[in-house]
Amino acid sequence: MAASTLLFVASILLSSFALSCNASGTFSALQKSILLTSSPKSGQVLKAGEANITVTWSFNKTYPAGTDSAYKTVKVKLCYAPISQKDRGWRKTKDELKKDRTCQHKIVKRDYKPESDSVTWTVERDIPTATYFVRAYVFNAEEKEVAYGQSTNDGKKTNLFEVEAITGRHVSLDIASACFSVFSIVSLAGFFYLEKRKANASQQK
């Protein structure tokens, strides 16, 4: 009994070591060499499914030439601002990129161009109500993050905008829901009444 418990504990420890051997990239190791602007003004509220965001990004020329020789692809993402991460552990910011949950919504994936590139994106209907900023990650040929750029400052306090999500409710759903509920109550009452009547009738016979 004790031996098998030891074995279990040992195997857990071993596998956790094995995981940590896969050193994955960290956010703090990335170069902030992309300049990125997004169209929403600070504090603007966008409606999901209707409003557009235009994102423009380019390589920051103040960095030495050749820094971007390894850049292959760019992924632009919609990211949660700190206020929308509060009390929501599933949106937590972690330095280890594999575990980071800040940016959960993809806007576009493009090949990297040193000149300016841009995209106009309609806010999709599954984007939740929250406060956001835009960030672009740059990947090398091995699909590993090497650089980034974002529309807010390092503290993620400036230039944030909001999205107002769709409710997901529909009048037709509400009506169907009400109908079935009424049916349930009425059929229960109906059965009860009918059986009571039958019982009284058989009593009187």
């Binding site: 599933w90 997901g168 409710r169 349930s184």
Partner: protein, 527 residues
């Protein structure tokens, strides 16, 4: 024998001493004049439990009953695997998600206690139909919900439907003989509890099908809730049209004056609450059934977040937790019975302690597991431990009291829900504790709260560490069970049932039965 058919709360239990699927004559004589598909006793209760039959009324009742209970488990925990979508749609915080989980198990604490009285007055058929059809609108209400408070309120109301546990057990007791009622009730309860696992599979699948048909995520999950709602209505109608309260017909039609217990409620209640063992088992069940309910609420979201799984994959893993009930709960009862054959009640107590503590240890390991395969393995062993402990608990409950069995069973059941609410509030609602840490703390609490079982002592059988009393009178089963009646009540002969029960319970001595000395006042006066 003196029991009126379907007397109050009789049989509201998971297990009685003999694990059997059939009672042979002449142990219980068969009524040969009755024309039923199964052999029946003098009250027309079935003596045989034929699992794959739909024979009216006994087996049909069994299937209607457990499927209704299963349906209510499905709808109570239907939100759990969809929380990753719901939390985005309704802008929930971790606190909101946790509070909704607490709410989902709290409603039934109250509704289960009320349901006993409802079954007495209206019969189990209407009790079941009422609960299931009146909670159907609450399930449909999920389509209206637009914020955290609405979400919590609706989950609270859906949770009332778990009162079908009581109708299920009560209805079984009107249909099946006392010697097999343990197996019948244990199977019905276990299969009903499986609903908490099945829902983790069903809801994500429904959600993705509805999405593929064209709905957006925030609408698709609302539509998905219509299916459990329809199940409520369908089962309610089936129960009303195909079911009957008693083997011979329905309550109203038979003109019985209601199944009111001949005993006084205040007395029965008194003997339940003044027996310290009741409270120990209320606590214990909160950490076997309670943690099972809590885990049903948090495990899918946990796997989704921690291991980055798709919603359906997380649902499948979460489902295996609840589905283990198919065999784990009956296994616990079986293990308890096997231990009792050799070691009597002490064996049952040790079995319970071992199973529940093992469950707790593997819960701790589940919280600490960093890789998916290990987490799943720890979860499965944890589920078997916790659910088998539930089965083993009801292997002991019938022996705590004969007079107050119904109330003690009801209180224990309520304790399960209370433990679940408390655990979710402590460990799964605050943002400062991650779910993984919450699971570890829950495991530690399980181990700690299982310790009190060492204090349960029966003078006639002993406890985990102490032997039974050597005193001829105090160490007899009769003395223990008859002490619940006053002299006045004994004069009226009200204690006869307890005397008979005491005789039958001698099997809890284990191998020592043959050598038990006969107490001086043992011979009952047969009326």
């Amino acid at each position: 024998m003196g029991d009126t058919p379907g007397s109050s709360m009789h049989g509201v239990t998971g297990r009685e001493p003999v694990l059997s699927f059939a009672v042979a004559s002449p142990m219980v004589p068969t009524d040969t004049t009755a024309k039923f598909d199964l052999p029946v006793d003098s009250e027309h209760k079935a003596k045989v439990f034929k699992l794959f039959s739909l024979a009216n009324p006994h087996m049909r009742t069994f299937h209607l009953s457990w499927i209704s209970f299963f349906t209510c488990f499905v709808s109570t925990f239907a939100a759990a695997p969809l929380v990753p979508i719901i939390r985005d749609n309704l802008n929930l915080t971790k606190g909101d998600v946790g509070n909704a989980g607490v709410a989902s198990v709290s409603g039934s604490i109250f509704s289960r206690l009320v349901m006993g009285a409802v079954c007495d007055l209206l019969g189990p058929r209407y009790g079941c139909a009422f609960v299931i059809m009146l909670t159907a609108p609450t399930v449909f209400c999920m389509s209206f919900v637009s914020d955290a408070s609405g979400y919590i309120a609706v989950r609270f109301m859906i949770g009332f439907s778990l009162a079908t546990f009581v109708t299920c057990q009560y209805w079984m007791s009107t249909m099946f003989n006392g010697k097999i009622i343990g197996t019948v009730n244990g199977t019905a309860a276990g299969w009903g509890n499986m609903g908490g696992g099945a829902t983790q599979l069903i809801m994500p699948v429904l959600y993705s099908v509805i999405q593929n048909v064209g709905a957006t995520p925030f609408t698709a999950w609302r539509i998905a809730f219509f299916i459990p709602g329809w199940l409520h209505v369908i089962m309610g109608i089936l129960v009303l049209t195909l079911g009957q309260d008693l083997p011979d017909g329905n309550l109203g039609a038979l003109q019985k004056t209601g199944n009111v217990s001949k005993d006084k409620f205040s007395k029965v209640f008194w003997y339940a609450v003044t027996n310290y063992r009741t409270w120990i088992f209320v606590l214990l069940y909160g950490y076997s059934m309670g943690v099972e309910l809590s885990t049903d609420n948090v495990i899918a979201e946990y796997f989704f977040d921690r291991f980055d799984l798709k919603l359906q994959t997380a649902g499948i893993i979460a489902a295996t937790f609840g589905m283990a009930n198919l065999v784990a709960r009956p296994f616990g009862g079986y293990a308890s019975d096997m231990a009792a054959r050799r070691f009597g009640m002490r064996g049952r107590l040790w079995t319970l302690w071992i199973l529940q503590t093992l469950g707790g240890i593997f819960c701790i390991l589940l919280g600490r597991a960093n890789s998916l395969p290990i987490a799943v393995t720890m979860m499965i062993i944890f589920s078997v431990g916790a659910q088998a402990a539930c089965g083993a608990t009801f292997g002991i409950i019938p022996f705590i009291s004969r007079r107050s069995l119904g109330i003690i069973s009801g209180m224990t059941g309520a304790g399960g829900n209370f433990g679940s609410g408390l655990t979710q509030l402590l460990f799964f609602t605050s943002s400062s504790i991650s779910t993984a840490t919450g699971l570890t703390y829950m495991g530690i609490m399980i181990v700690a709260c299982t310790m009190p079982v060492t204090l349960v002592h029966f003078p006639q059988w002993g406890s985990m560490f102490l032997p039974p009393s050597r005193d001829i009178v105090k160490g007899s089963e009769e003395n223990y069970y008859v002490s619940e009646w006053t002299e006045e009540e004994k004069q009226k002969g009200m204690h006869q049932g307890s005397v008979k029960f005491a005789e039958n319970s001698r099997s809890e001595r284990g191998r020592r039965v043959a050598s038990a000395p006969t107490p001086p006042n043992a011979t009952p006066d047969h009326v």
